[in-house]
Protein backbone atom coordinates (compact mmCIF):
# COMPACT_ATOMS: atom_id res chain seq x y z
CA UNK A 1 0.00 0.00 0.00
CA UNK A 2 3.01 2.28 0.27
CA UNK A 3 3.88 4.84 -2.35
CA UNK A 4 2.20 7.76 -4.01
CA UNK A 5 -1.49 7.94 -4.75
CA UNK A 6 -3.39 7.59 -6.92
CA UNK A 7 -2.15 4.12 -7.82
CA UNK A 8 -3.52 1.42 -10.10
CA UNK A 9 -3.70 -2.25 -9.09
CA UNK A 10 -5.00 -5.38 -10.76
CA UNK A 11 -8.09 -7.14 -9.32
CA UNK A 12 -8.48 -10.72 -10.45
CA UNK A 13 -8.27 -11.23 -14.19
CA UNK A 14 -10.79 -8.65 -15.40
CA UNK A 15 -10.49 -5.71 -13.04
CA UNK A 16 -8.35 -2.65 -12.33
CA UNK A 17 -8.57 -0.67 -9.14
CA UNK A 18 -7.61 3.01 -8.94
CA UNK A 19 -6.82 3.79 -5.32
CA UNK A 20 -6.81 7.38 -4.13
CA UNK A 21 -5.67 6.74 -0.54
CA UNK A 22 -4.70 3.93 1.81
CA UNK A 23 -6.96 5.26 4.54
CA UNK A 24 -10.40 6.78 4.68
CA UNK A 25 -10.36 10.45 3.74
CA UNK A 26 -12.99 12.84 2.48
CA UNK A 27 -11.00 14.12 -0.49
CA UNK A 28 -10.03 10.61 -1.64
CA UNK A 29 -13.70 9.61 -1.50
CA UNK A 30 -14.68 12.59 -3.64
CA UNK A 31 -11.84 11.74 -6.05
CA UNK A 32 -13.09 8.16 -6.40
CA UNK A 33 -16.67 9.30 -7.07
CA UNK A 34 -15.60 11.93 -9.61
CA UNK A 35 -13.23 9.55 -11.40
CA UNK A 36 -15.97 6.95 -11.70
CA UNK A 37 -18.38 9.55 -13.11
CA UNK A 38 -15.74 10.64 -15.63
CA UNK A 39 -15.13 7.04 -16.73
CA UNK A 40 -18.83 6.37 -17.10
CA UNK A 41 -19.35 9.45 -19.25
CA UNK A 42 -16.25 8.62 -21.33
CA UNK A 43 -17.81 5.23 -22.24
CA UNK A 44 -14.58 3.48 -23.29
CA UNK A 45 -15.03 0.33 -25.36
CA UNK A 46 -14.63 -2.93 -23.46
CA UNK A 47 -15.40 -1.51 -20.02
CA UNK A 48 -18.24 -3.51 -18.53
CA UNK A 49 -18.90 -1.51 -15.39
CA UNK A 50 -17.42 0.92 -12.90
CA UNK A 51 -17.94 1.13 -9.16
CA UNK A 52 -16.46 2.93 -6.19
CA UNK A 53 -15.45 1.82 -2.73
CA UNK A 54 -14.52 4.30 0.00
CA UNK A 55 -11.36 5.61 -1.61
CA UNK A 56 -11.04 3.73 -4.88
CA UNK A 57 -12.64 3.31 -8.28
CA UNK A 58 -13.04 -0.16 -9.79
CA UNK A 59 -13.17 -0.84 -13.51
CA UNK A 60 -14.37 -4.24 -14.75
CA UNK A 61 -13.55 -5.33 -18.28
CA UNK A 62 -13.40 -8.43 -20.46
CA UNK A 63 -9.77 -9.56 -20.08
CA UNK A 64 -9.78 -11.24 -23.48
CA UNK A 65 -11.10 -8.13 -25.25
CA UNK A 66 -9.10 -5.46 -23.43
CA UNK A 67 -5.38 -5.46 -22.72
CA UNK A 68 -4.97 -4.67 -19.03
CA UNK A 69 -1.68 -2.85 -19.59
CA UNK A 70 -3.15 -0.58 -22.24
CA UNK A 71 -6.19 0.13 -20.08
CA UNK A 72 -3.96 0.92 -17.14
CA UNK A 73 -2.01 3.42 -19.25
CA UNK A 74 -5.24 5.02 -20.39
CA UNK A 75 -6.42 5.31 -16.77
CA UNK A 76 -3.08 6.93 -15.83
CA UNK A 77 -3.50 9.48 -18.60
CA UNK A 78 -7.01 10.34 -17.40
CA UNK A 79 -5.78 10.60 -13.82
CA UNK A 80 -3.20 13.19 -14.84
CA UNK A 81 -5.82 15.41 -16.51
CA UNK A 82 -7.35 16.74 -13.27
CA UNK A 83 -6.75 17.19 -9.58
CA UNK A 84 -9.36 14.57 -8.71
CA UNK A 85 -9.06 15.27 -4.97
CA UNK A 86 -10.36 18.79 -5.61
CA UNK A 87 -13.45 17.67 -7.53
CA UNK A 88 -16.91 18.53 -6.17
CA UNK A 89 -19.40 16.04 -4.78
CA UNK A 90 -22.00 14.49 -7.12
CA UNK A 91 -25.13 16.49 -7.98
CA UNK A 92 -28.62 15.76 -6.66
CA UNK A 93 -27.58 14.97 -3.11
CA UNK A 94 -30.23 14.48 -0.40
CA UNK A 95 -30.34 14.61 3.41
CA UNK A 96 -32.11 11.81 5.31
CA UNK A 97 -32.98 12.28 9.00
CA UNK A 98 -33.42 8.64 10.06
CA UNK A 99 -35.00 7.52 13.36
CA UNK A 100 -32.78 4.97 15.11
CA UNK A 101 -33.09 3.14 18.43
CA UNK A 102 -29.62 2.82 20.00
CA UNK A 103 -28.55 0.32 22.66
CA UNK A 104 -30.62 -2.30 24.45
CA UNK A 105 -32.01 -5.12 22.34
CA UNK A 106 -32.00 -2.75 19.35
CA UNK A 107 -28.23 -2.32 19.56
CA UNK A 108 -26.69 -4.99 21.77
CA UNK A 109 -23.10 -3.89 21.09
CA UNK A 110 -23.71 -0.19 21.82
CA UNK A 111 -22.04 -0.35 25.24
CA UNK A 112 -19.07 -2.34 23.95
CA UNK A 113 -18.61 0.09 21.04
CA UNK A 114 -18.68 3.08 23.41
CA UNK A 115 -16.16 1.34 25.69
CA UNK A 116 -13.89 0.53 22.75
CA UNK A 117 -14.06 4.16 21.68
CA UNK A 118 -13.37 5.35 25.23
CA UNK A 119 -16.68 7.22 25.42
CA UNK A 120 -19.51 7.32 27.95
CA UNK A 121 -22.86 6.07 26.65
CA UNK A 122 -24.13 9.65 26.50
CA UNK A 123 -21.06 10.90 24.61
CA UNK A 124 -21.32 7.96 22.19
CA UNK A 125 -24.98 8.77 21.50
CA UNK A 126 -24.02 12.40 20.92
CA UNK A 127 -21.25 11.45 18.51
CA UNK A 128 -23.68 9.30 16.51
CA UNK A 129 -26.50 11.85 16.27
CA UNK A 130 -24.93 15.32 16.43
CA UNK A 131 -24.04 15.74 12.78
CA UNK A 132 -24.97 14.29 9.41
CA UNK A 133 -22.86 11.46 8.07
CA UNK A 134 -21.86 11.39 4.41
CA UNK A 135 -22.70 8.30 2.35
CA UNK A 136 -19.21 7.61 1.07
CA UNK A 137 -20.03 4.55 -0.98
CA UNK A 138 -22.67 1.89 -1.50
CA UNK A 139 -21.35 -1.64 -1.29
CA UNK A 140 -21.05 -5.03 0.40
CA UNK A 141 -24.78 -5.71 0.09
CA UNK A 142 -27.37 -4.08 -2.22
CA UNK A 143 -27.90 -0.45 -1.26
CA UNK A 144 -25.81 -0.72 1.90
CA UNK A 145 -24.34 2.71 2.76
CA UNK A 146 -20.87 3.17 4.23
CA UNK A 147 -21.16 6.44 6.13
CA UNK A 148 -18.62 8.63 7.81
CA UNK A 149 -16.59 10.10 9.07
CA UNK A 150 -16.92 9.12 12.76
CA UNK A 151 -13.47 9.99 14.14
CA UNK A 152 -14.58 9.03 17.67
CA UNK A 153 -15.20 5.45 16.59
CA UNK A 154 -11.83 4.41 15.25
CA UNK A 155 -12.47 0.85 16.47
CA UNK A 156 -11.46 -2.37 14.70
CA UNK A 157 -13.78 -5.01 13.30
CA UNK A 158 -14.38 -8.02 15.54
CA UNK A 159 -12.86 -11.40 14.80
CA UNK A 160 -16.12 -13.22 15.54
CA UNK A 161 -19.04 -12.61 13.24
CA UNK A 162 -22.47 -11.84 14.70
CA UNK A 163 -25.86 -11.75 12.98
CA UNK A 164 -27.41 -8.31 12.42
CA UNK A 165 -31.04 -7.92 11.27
CA UNK A 166 -32.24 -5.81 8.32
CA UNK A 167 -32.16 -2.12 9.23
CA UNK A 168 -29.46 -2.71 11.83
CA UNK A 169 -26.81 0.00 12.30
CA UNK A 170 -23.24 -1.14 12.93
CA UNK A 171 -19.95 0.65 13.55
CA UNK A 172 -16.27 0.04 12.87
CA UNK A 173 -13.21 1.92 11.63
CA UNK A 174 -14.78 5.42 11.80
CA UNK A 175 -17.84 4.42 9.80
CA UNK A 176 -21.46 3.45 10.25
CA UNK A 177 -23.46 1.12 8.00
CA UNK A 178 -27.15 0.19 7.72
CA UNK A 179 -27.88 -3.40 6.69
CA UNK A 180 -30.46 -3.91 3.92
CA UNK A 181 -30.93 -7.57 4.87
CA UNK A 182 -29.99 -9.72 7.81
CA UNK A 183 -26.29 -10.46 7.60
CA UNK A 184 -23.35 -11.78 9.56
CA UNK A 185 -20.83 -9.05 10.35
CA UNK A 186 -17.71 -8.27 12.30
CA UNK A 187 -18.96 -4.71 12.90
CA UNK A 188 -20.59 -3.72 16.20
CA UNK A 189 -24.37 -3.66 16.13
CA UNK A 190 -25.29 -0.46 17.99
CA UNK A 191 -28.77 0.42 16.78
CA UNK A 192 -31.85 -0.41 14.79
CA UNK A 193 -33.81 1.51 12.14
CA UNK A 194 -36.83 0.73 9.96
CA UNK A 195 -34.92 2.19 7.01
CA UNK A 196 -34.70 0.00 3.87
CA UNK A 197 -31.57 0.73 1.82
CA UNK A 198 -32.73 -1.78 -0.85
CA UNK A 199 -36.29 -1.99 -2.21
CA UNK A 200 -36.13 -4.49 -5.10
CA UNK A 201 -39.79 -3.99 -5.98
CA UNK A 202 -39.52 -0.17 -6.29
CA UNK A 203 -38.76 1.95 -9.36
CA UNK A 204 -35.64 3.18 -7.56
CA UNK A 205 -34.47 0.02 -5.79
CA UNK A 206 -31.43 1.63 -4.20
CA UNK A 207 -32.59 4.21 -1.64
CA UNK A 208 -29.29 6.04 -1.08
CA UNK A 209 -26.50 7.19 -3.37
CA UNK A 210 -22.92 8.13 -2.61
CA UNK A 211 -22.84 11.80 -1.65
CA UNK A 212 -26.17 11.73 0.24
CA UNK A 213 -26.23 12.59 3.95
CA UNK A 214 -27.77 10.54 6.74
CA UNK A 215 -28.31 11.92 10.22
CA UNK A 216 -29.60 9.65 12.97
CA UNK A 217 -32.35 10.81 15.31
CA UNK A 218 -32.38 8.78 18.52
CA UNK A 219 -35.77 7.21 19.26
CA UNK A 220 -36.95 4.62 21.79
CA UNK A 221 -37.64 1.04 20.80
CA UNK A 222 -41.35 1.78 21.30
CA UNK A 223 -41.20 4.69 18.86
CA UNK A 224 -39.37 2.48 16.38
CA UNK A 225 -42.12 -0.13 16.70
CA UNK A 226 -44.71 2.54 15.80
CA UNK A 227 -42.62 3.63 12.81
CA UNK A 228 -42.50 0.02 11.62
CA UNK A 229 -46.30 -0.13 11.61
CA UNK A 230 -46.37 2.62 8.97
CA UNK A 231 -44.33 0.36 6.65
CA UNK A 232 -42.50 3.34 5.12
CA UNK A 233 -39.39 2.17 3.22
CA UNK A 234 -37.41 5.15 4.51
CA UNK A 235 -38.29 4.12 8.08
CA UNK A 236 -39.85 7.43 9.03
CA UNK A 237 -36.99 9.49 7.62
CA UNK A 238 -37.41 13.15 6.71
CA UNK A 239 -35.85 13.63 3.27
CA UNK A 240 -34.68 17.03 1.99
CA UNK A 241 -32.67 18.07 -1.05
CA UNK A 242 -29.19 19.48 -0.42
Amino acid sequence: MAGAFPQIASVGLGGLLVRFAAHLSEDANRAALAFRAALESAGWDGIEECATSLASTFVRFDPLAVDAGALSARLSALLSEHDWYAMPLPHGRRHFLVPCAFGGDAGPAFGAAADAAGLSAQAALGALTAAPLRVMTIGFAPGLPYMGDLPDFDIPRLKELVQVPAGGVALAIRQAIIFPNGSPTGWRHVGQTAFRPFQPEADQPFTLAAGDEVQFRAVSEDELALIRVADDPTGGAEVTAL
Partner: protein
Protein backbone atom coordinates in the same frame (compact mmCIF):
# COMPACT_ATOMS: atom_id res chain seq x y z
CA UNK B 1 -49.55 -22.04 -20.19
CA UNK B 2 -46.90 -24.70 -19.86
CA UNK B 3 -45.65 -25.00 -16.33
CA UNK B 4 -43.51 -27.02 -13.99
CA UNK B 5 -45.07 -28.25 -10.77
CA UNK B 6 -42.60 -28.93 -7.99
CA UNK B 7 -44.17 -31.84 -6.13
CA UNK B 8 -41.32 -32.12 -3.66
CA UNK B 9 -38.56 -29.55 -3.35
CA UNK B 10 -35.09 -30.38 -2.11
CA UNK B 11 -33.72 -28.14 0.63
CA UNK B 12 -31.86 -25.60 -1.53
CA UNK B 13 -33.35 -25.31 -5.00
CA UNK B 14 -33.46 -21.91 -6.73
CA UNK B 15 -34.16 -20.48 -10.18
CA UNK B 16 -30.86 -19.44 -11.75
CA UNK B 17 -29.73 -17.75 -14.95
CA UNK B 18 -26.62 -15.72 -15.76
CA UNK B 19 -27.39 -13.23 -13.00
CA UNK B 20 -27.34 -9.43 -12.88
CA UNK B 21 -24.05 -7.88 -13.96
CA UNK B 22 -23.70 -4.10 -13.73
CA UNK B 23 -24.83 -3.33 -10.17
CA UNK B 24 -21.50 -3.57 -8.33
CA UNK B 25 -21.59 0.15 -7.63
CA UNK B 26 -24.92 -0.32 -5.85
CA UNK B 27 -23.69 -3.21 -3.78
CA UNK B 28 -25.44 -5.97 -5.71
CA UNK B 29 -23.16 -8.79 -6.86
CA UNK B 30 -23.90 -10.51 -10.13
CA UNK B 31 -25.21 -13.74 -8.64
CA UNK B 32 -26.44 -16.27 -11.17
CA UNK B 33 -25.72 -19.98 -11.47
CA UNK B 34 -23.00 -21.20 -9.11
CA UNK B 35 -21.69 -23.27 -12.03
CA UNK B 36 -22.20 -21.17 -15.19
CA UNK B 37 -20.61 -23.91 -17.28
CA UNK B 38 -23.52 -26.18 -16.34
CA UNK B 39 -25.93 -23.53 -17.67
CA UNK B 40 -23.95 -23.43 -20.93
CA UNK B 41 -24.05 -27.23 -21.15
CA UNK B 42 -27.81 -27.18 -20.68
CA UNK B 43 -28.17 -24.50 -23.34
CA UNK B 44 -26.11 -26.63 -25.73
CA UNK B 45 -28.19 -29.73 -25.02
CA UNK B 46 -31.55 -28.17 -25.72
CA UNK B 47 -30.38 -25.46 -28.06
CA UNK B 48 -31.68 -22.45 -26.17
CA UNK B 49 -30.38 -20.40 -23.24
CA UNK B 50 -32.68 -19.75 -20.33
CA UNK B 51 -33.24 -19.92 -16.60
CA UNK B 52 -32.96 -23.36 -14.99
CA UNK B 53 -33.45 -24.85 -11.54
CA UNK B 54 -30.26 -25.13 -9.51
CA UNK B 55 -30.27 -27.91 -6.94
CA UNK B 56 -27.72 -27.80 -4.13
CA UNK B 57 -26.76 -31.29 -3.03
CA UNK B 58 -30.06 -32.96 -3.79
CA UNK B 59 -32.93 -32.58 -6.23
CA UNK B 60 -36.68 -33.00 -5.95
CA UNK B 61 -39.76 -34.29 -7.73
CA UNK B 62 -41.16 -32.41 -10.72
CA UNK B 63 -44.05 -32.77 -13.14
CA UNK B 64 -44.98 -30.71 -16.21
CA UNK B 65 -48.38 -29.62 -17.49
CA UNK B 66 -47.54 -30.35 -21.15
CA UNK B 67 -44.86 -32.34 -22.97
CA UNK B 68 -41.57 -30.63 -22.21
CA UNK B 69 -37.96 -31.15 -23.13
CA UNK B 70 -35.55 -31.29 -20.21
CA UNK B 71 -31.80 -31.39 -19.81
CA UNK B 72 -29.78 -32.43 -16.77
CA UNK B 73 -26.34 -30.93 -16.11
CA UNK B 74 -23.88 -30.02 -13.36
CA UNK B 75 -23.23 -32.25 -10.34
CA UNK B 76 -24.36 -35.74 -11.37
CA UNK B 77 -27.50 -36.77 -9.50
CA UNK B 78 -29.65 -39.88 -9.68
CA UNK B 79 -32.61 -39.15 -11.94
CA UNK B 80 -35.58 -41.07 -13.22
CA UNK B 81 -38.66 -40.33 -15.27
CA UNK B 82 -41.67 -42.41 -14.28
CA UNK B 83 -39.31 -44.97 -12.80
CA UNK B 84 -36.97 -45.16 -15.80
CA UNK B 85 -33.40 -44.07 -15.08
CA UNK B 86 -32.27 -41.00 -17.00
CA UNK B 87 -28.77 -40.25 -18.19
CA UNK B 88 -27.12 -37.12 -16.68
CA UNK B 89 -25.54 -34.55 -19.05
CA UNK B 90 -28.31 -35.34 -21.49
CA UNK B 91 -31.61 -34.08 -22.84
CA UNK B 92 -34.85 -36.02 -22.57
CA UNK B 93 -38.54 -35.68 -23.39
CA UNK B 94 -40.94 -35.47 -20.49
CA UNK B 95 -44.61 -36.23 -21.19
CA UNK B 96 -47.43 -34.22 -19.64
CA UNK B 97 -47.93 -35.50 -16.12
CA UNK B 98 -44.67 -37.45 -16.19
CA UNK B 99 -42.91 -37.61 -12.83
CA UNK B 100 -39.23 -36.60 -12.81
CA UNK B 101 -37.45 -37.61 -9.63
CA UNK B 102 -33.97 -36.23 -8.98
CA UNK B 103 -32.06 -37.56 -5.98
CA UNK B 104 -28.76 -36.79 -4.30
CA UNK B 105 -25.51 -35.86 -6.03
CA UNK B 106 -22.94 -38.63 -6.33
CA UNK B 107 -20.24 -35.94 -6.59
CA UNK B 108 -20.16 -32.17 -6.75
CA UNK B 109 -22.44 -29.59 -5.23
CA UNK B 110 -24.87 -28.08 -7.76
CA UNK B 111 -27.03 -30.00 -10.23
CA UNK B 112 -29.25 -28.29 -12.81
CA UNK B 113 -32.51 -29.25 -14.46
CA UNK B 114 -33.35 -27.22 -17.57
CA UNK B 115 -36.84 -27.15 -19.04
CA UNK B 116 -37.45 -26.43 -22.74
CA UNK B 117 -38.29 -22.75 -23.19
CA UNK B 118 -36.67 -21.83 -19.90
CA UNK B 119 -38.34 -20.74 -16.69
CA UNK B 120 -40.35 -17.62 -17.44
CA UNK B 121 -40.81 -15.97 -14.06
CA UNK B 122 -40.81 -12.13 -14.08
CA UNK B 123 -37.49 -10.35 -14.52
CA UNK B 124 -36.31 -8.47 -11.43
CA UNK B 125 -33.48 -6.01 -12.12
CA UNK B 126 -32.92 -7.72 -15.44
CA UNK B 127 -32.72 -11.37 -14.39
CA UNK B 128 -34.70 -14.28 -12.94
CA UNK B 129 -31.98 -15.60 -10.64
CA UNK B 130 -32.73 -15.87 -6.98
CA UNK B 131 -30.09 -13.86 -5.11
CA UNK B 132 -30.73 -15.04 -1.58
CA UNK B 133 -28.24 -12.83 0.23
CA UNK B 134 -29.73 -9.77 -1.51
CA UNK B 135 -33.26 -10.84 -0.68
CA UNK B 136 -34.19 -11.34 -4.36
CA UNK B 137 -36.35 -14.39 -5.02
CA UNK B 138 -36.42 -17.33 -2.64
CA UNK B 139 -35.68 -20.99 -2.20
CA UNK B 140 -38.21 -23.08 -4.15
CA UNK B 141 -40.77 -24.99 -2.11
CA UNK B 142 -42.96 -28.01 -2.58
CA UNK B 143 -46.12 -26.96 -4.40
CA UNK B 144 -44.46 -24.14 -6.36
CA UNK B 145 -45.54 -23.79 -9.99
CA UNK B 146 -43.18 -22.12 -12.45
CA UNK B 147 -44.21 -20.88 -15.92
CA UNK B 148 -42.17 -21.88 -18.97
CA UNK B 149 -41.37 -19.75 -22.01
CA UNK B 150 -41.92 -20.79 -25.63
CA UNK B 151 -39.67 -23.66 -26.65
CA UNK B 152 -38.15 -23.06 -30.09
CA UNK B 153 -36.43 -26.43 -30.37
CA UNK B 154 -37.34 -30.09 -30.71
CA UNK B 155 -34.15 -32.06 -30.16
CA UNK B 156 -33.97 -34.52 -27.29
CA UNK B 157 -32.04 -37.70 -26.63
CA UNK B 158 -28.69 -35.94 -26.88
CA UNK B 159 -25.75 -36.28 -24.53
CA UNK B 160 -22.55 -34.46 -23.73
CA UNK B 161 -19.23 -35.78 -22.47
CA UNK B 162 -18.30 -33.58 -19.52
CA UNK B 163 -14.83 -33.46 -17.98
CA UNK B 164 -14.97 -34.16 -14.24
CA UNK B 165 -15.01 -30.90 -12.31
CA UNK B 166 -16.94 -32.31 -9.37
CA UNK B 167 -14.29 -33.66 -7.03
CA UNK B 168 -12.09 -30.70 -6.14
CA UNK B 169 -8.50 -30.57 -7.35
CA UNK B 170 -6.18 -27.65 -8.07
CA UNK B 171 -7.56 -24.13 -8.40
CA UNK B 172 -5.43 -21.55 -10.20
CA UNK B 173 -5.07 -18.11 -8.61
CA UNK B 174 -3.87 -14.76 -9.84
CA UNK B 175 -2.39 -12.27 -7.40
CA UNK B 176 -4.77 -9.54 -6.37
CA UNK B 177 -4.65 -6.25 -4.49
CA UNK B 178 -3.96 -7.74 -1.06
CA UNK B 179 -1.78 -10.71 -2.00
CA UNK B 180 1.31 -8.78 -0.89
CA UNK B 181 -0.27 -8.20 2.52
CA UNK B 182 0.58 -11.86 3.19
CA UNK B 183 4.25 -12.66 3.70
CA UNK B 184 6.01 -14.84 1.13
CA UNK B 185 6.19 -17.57 3.79
CA UNK B 186 2.43 -17.41 4.44
CA UNK B 187 1.72 -17.53 0.70
CA UNK B 188 4.02 -20.53 0.30
CA UNK B 189 2.32 -22.30 3.22
CA UNK B 190 -1.04 -21.51 1.61
CA UNK B 191 -0.11 -23.13 -1.70
CA UNK B 192 1.48 -26.10 0.12
CA UNK B 193 -1.71 -26.78 2.07
CA UNK B 194 -4.40 -29.24 1.10
CA UNK B 195 -7.80 -27.85 2.08
CA UNK B 196 -11.08 -29.62 2.60
CA UNK B 197 -14.31 -28.01 1.53
CA UNK B 198 -16.12 -27.44 4.82
CA UNK B 199 -19.79 -28.30 5.27
CA UNK B 200 -20.35 -24.56 5.69
CA UNK B 201 -20.93 -23.35 2.15
CA UNK B 202 -23.63 -21.52 0.29
CA UNK B 203 -23.96 -19.39 -2.83
CA UNK B 204 -22.02 -16.55 -1.14
CA UNK B 205 -18.94 -18.55 -0.40
CA UNK B 206 -17.42 -21.78 0.79
CA UNK B 207 -15.35 -22.25 3.88
CA UNK B 208 -12.15 -24.28 3.64
CA UNK B 209 -10.71 -26.22 6.53
CA UNK B 210 -7.18 -27.46 7.12
CA UNK B 211 -5.15 -28.87 9.97
CA UNK B 212 -2.47 -26.16 10.28
CA UNK B 213 -2.35 -22.69 11.79
CA UNK B 214 -4.65 -19.91 10.58
CA UNK B 215 -3.42 -17.64 7.79
CA UNK B 216 -2.74 -14.14 9.03
CA UNK B 217 -1.57 -10.71 8.01
CA UNK B 218 -0.78 -7.76 10.23
CA UNK B 219 -3.32 -5.62 8.42
CA UNK B 220 -6.12 -8.09 9.10
CA UNK B 221 -8.82 -6.05 10.87
CA UNK B 222 -8.32 -2.50 9.67
CA UNK B 223 -7.95 -2.90 5.91
CA UNK B 224 -9.99 -0.25 4.08
CA UNK B 225 -13.04 -1.88 2.49
CA UNK B 226 -12.37 -2.41 -1.20
CA UNK B 227 -13.99 -4.14 -4.14
CA UNK B 228 -14.49 -7.91 -3.99
CA UNK B 229 -14.89 -10.16 -7.00
CA UNK B 230 -16.14 -13.78 -7.08
CA UNK B 231 -13.16 -16.08 -6.84
CA UNK B 232 -11.43 -13.98 -4.21
CA UNK B 233 -10.00 -16.15 -1.42
CA UNK B 234 -10.77 -14.15 1.69
CA UNK B 235 -9.31 -14.65 5.14
CA UNK B 236 -11.87 -13.78 7.78
CA UNK B 237 -10.77 -12.33 11.10
CA UNK B 238 -9.79 -15.73 12.47
CA UNK B 239 -7.62 -16.52 9.42
CA UNK B 240 -9.94 -19.13 7.88
CA UNK B 241 -10.11 -18.99 4.08
CA UNK B 242 -13.37 -18.66 2.18
CA UNK B 243 -13.69 -18.86 -1.61
CA UNK B 244 -16.20 -16.20 -2.58
CA UNK B 245 -18.96 -17.34 -4.95
CA UNK B 246 -21.51 -15.51 -7.19
CA UNK B 247 -23.65 -14.11 -4.35
CA UNK B 248 -20.65 -12.69 -2.48
CA UNK B 249 -20.55 -9.22 -1.03
CA UNK B 250 -19.27 -6.50 -3.42
CA UNK B 251 -16.81 -4.86 -1.02
CA UNK B 252 -15.08 -6.00 2.09
CA UNK B 253 -12.26 -5.37 4.44
CA UNK B 254 -10.96 -8.85 5.14
CA UNK B 255 -7.74 -9.44 3.24
CA UNK B 256 -7.77 -11.67 0.18
CA UNK B 257 -4.74 -13.76 -0.66
CA UNK B 258 -5.58 -14.13 -4.35
CA UNK B 259 -8.36 -14.63 -6.89
CA UNK B 260 -9.36 -17.96 -8.42
CA UNK B 261 -9.41 -17.44 -12.17
CA UNK B 262 -12.88 -17.44 -13.77
CA UNK B 263 -12.42 -20.66 -15.71
CA UNK B 264 -11.65 -22.58 -12.50
CA UNK B 265 -14.71 -21.25 -10.68
CA UNK B 266 -17.01 -24.08 -11.85
CA UNK B 267 -14.54 -26.54 -10.30
CA UNK B 268 -14.42 -24.45 -7.11
CA UNK B 269 -18.20 -24.13 -6.78
CA UNK B 270 -18.67 -27.82 -7.57
CA UNK B 271 -16.31 -29.03 -4.85
CA UNK B 272 -18.78 -30.97 -2.72
CA UNK B 273 -18.61 -31.45 1.05
CA UNK B 274 -15.30 -33.07 1.92
CA UNK B 275 -13.69 -32.47 -1.49
CA UNK B 276 -9.95 -31.71 -1.37
CA UNK B 277 -8.68 -28.45 -2.88
CA UNK B 278 -5.27 -26.97 -3.48
CA UNK B 279 -4.22 -23.61 -4.88
CA UNK B 280 -1.55 -22.64 -7.38
CA UNK B 281 -0.59 -19.09 -8.34
CA UNK B 282 -0.26 -18.62 -12.10
CA UNK B 283 0.91 -15.75 -14.27
CA UNK B 284 -1.56 -13.45 -15.95
CA UNK B 285 -0.57 -14.91 -19.34
CA UNK B 286 -1.28 -18.46 -18.17
CA UNK B 287 -4.61 -17.33 -16.73
CA UNK B 288 -5.61 -15.58 -19.97
CA UNK B 289 -4.70 -18.65 -21.98
CA UNK B 290 -6.81 -20.82 -19.70
CA UNK B 291 -9.71 -18.38 -19.96
CA UNK B 292 -9.48 -18.43 -23.74
CA UNK B 293 -9.52 -22.22 -23.58
CA UNK B 294 -12.72 -22.20 -21.53
CA UNK B 295 -14.47 -19.80 -23.90
CA UNK B 296 -13.47 -21.96 -26.86
CA UNK B 297 -14.79 -24.99 -24.99
CA UNK B 298 -18.12 -23.24 -24.31
CA UNK B 299 -18.37 -22.08 -27.92
CA UNK B 300 -17.83 -25.68 -29.05
CA UNK B 301 -20.40 -27.29 -26.75
CA UNK B 302 -23.18 -27.13 -29.33
CA UNK B 303 -21.02 -29.11 -31.76
CA UNK B 304 -20.03 -31.60 -29.08
CA UNK B 305 -23.50 -32.94 -28.32
CA UNK B 306 -24.09 -36.50 -29.53
CA UNK B 307 -27.17 -38.70 -29.76
CA UNK B 308 -27.49 -40.90 -26.69
CA UNK B 309 -26.78 -44.54 -27.45
CA UNK B 310 -29.74 -46.42 -26.11
CA UNK B 311 -29.58 -50.05 -25.12
CA UNK B 312 -32.79 -51.58 -26.57
CA UNK B 313 -32.74 -54.27 -23.89
CA UNK B 314 -33.32 -51.58 -21.28
CA UNK B 315 -36.08 -49.88 -23.22
CA UNK B 316 -39.28 -51.29 -21.79
CA UNK B 317 -41.42 -49.16 -24.06
CA UNK B 318 -39.48 -49.44 -27.31
CA UNK B 319 -42.57 -48.87 -29.39
CA UNK B 320 -43.16 -45.58 -27.65
CA UNK B 321 -40.00 -44.10 -29.11
CA UNK B 322 -39.80 -42.31 -32.37
CA UNK B 323 -36.74 -44.13 -33.64
CA UNK B 324 -35.99 -41.96 -36.61
CA UNK B 325 -36.84 -38.44 -35.45
CA UNK B 326 -35.57 -36.44 -32.60
CA UNK B 327 -31.90 -37.08 -32.88
CA UNK B 328 -31.40 -34.88 -35.88
CA UNK B 329 -32.46 -31.30 -36.10
CA UNK B 330 -32.02 -29.79 -39.55
CA UNK B 331 -32.20 -26.15 -38.63
CA UNK B 332 -29.65 -24.38 -36.53
CA UNK B 333 -31.07 -23.38 -33.17
CA UNK B 334 -29.74 -20.17 -31.82
CA UNK B 335 -29.68 -18.82 -28.32
Amino acid sequence: MRQIIITRAGPAMTVQDAGRPGHLGQGLSRGGAADPLALAEGAALWGQAGAAIEMAGTGGVFTVSEPTRIALTGAPMSADLDGRALRWNASHMMPAGGVLTIGGASAGAYGYVHFGGGIDTPLVLGARSAHLSAGLGRVLQSGDKLPLGPDTGQTTGMGLEVPNRFEGGVLRLVASVQTEAFSAAERARFTDTEFTRDARANRMGMKLSQAGAAFATDAQLDVLSEVIVPGDVQMTGDGVPFILLPECQTTGGYPRIGTVIPCDMPRAAQAGPGARLRFRFVSRDEALQAERGLRDHVAGLRRAIRPLLRDPAQMGDLLGYNLIGGAVCAHQEEE
